[in-house]
Symmetry: C2
Subunit: 194 residues, 2 copies
Amino acid sequence: MTEQLTAERILDTAEDVLRRYGPAKATVVDVARALGVSHGSVYRHFGTKAALREAVAERWLRRTSVPMAAVADDPALPAPERLRHWIRTLNATKRHYATQDPELQRTFRELISTTTGVVAAHEAELAGQLGRIVAAGVAAGDLAAADPAATGRAVFQATARFHHPAHAADWTSPANDTDLDAVVDLLLAGLSPR
Amino acid sequence: MTEQLTAERILDTAEDVLRRYGPAKATVVDVARALGVSHGSVYRHFGTKAALREAVAERWLRRTSVPMAAVADDPALPAPERLRHWIRTLNATKRHYATQDPELQRTFRELISTTTGVVAAHEAELAGQLGRIVAAGVAAGDLAAADPAATGRAVFQATARFHHPAHAADWTSPANDTDLDAVVDLLLAGLSPR
């Protein structure tokens, strides 16, 4: 009996095919062949090649954003410490991906550069998580911010150096942790209630 | 009578040759040919191809850092306004280069990626300028910082989104100016004396 062709199985295989052939060359036919099905079967799940690529990119980015949401919403840490822990965790997660498998990382960066809407949604999700930490801090009187969502966005942008993949080469520098803490110190000083 | 072969003339020509052939293909022989001199004459000024490339990269980066130093050291603006003006000016300068002549920009980014020491020195120079603004603010009682140089470095990193060329695509977004001001507001709040 054949294994059922689920969206998840297609995405697993598409990820593998993208990795082997590179985003520039991989086709839906390659994915179908690797699954032993017709390309029509793949198109029944993902209507276009672009839709399949976007779904692969989204799933890849969710591997970061889902665990980060757990950090953002964990009430165990007061908001200032939680904000620092969130940024350190995101930096460490991205460094892990960048150093553990640089080739896969390059493949996904190339793929992601063609799916700008997916990236924008991912960045908005992460900035929103920071906004929730800021809101929790305001509610508890630990942080001051007139508009926690806007502040979350500002904190996300002010820490781009520690999570945007263009800066990956700096994450293995011996100064990385000191630099990250210096930026977070400055941001928390700006958010501390007067 | 032949025009004298100065380092400046060699750099002008090298910049032009790099632009025409691209950093991967341009050679010292190409530069010498364009100048109508022997490659030995070029080597008398720049001992190696790497030294010539570094000198071109340095001169290119000084076109940004020299005018930025004038902004950093201009006592007309109080330090908090000067810091904001410095970051806005750097963002506008970089956007100008990135949009006015994207091909030249790509050439220089490619060149610069091979001269990491030159880039590190340039970034240290710019962070140092921010450190001087912070020090001026501390001296005037407008800003608070225990270590102005370290704070300058933190402010430089916290604003990477607005000056690191990897983020150039965001500088023409309608949200760029609001985003920049939101980050600067947060940093200045962190630097304001209590």
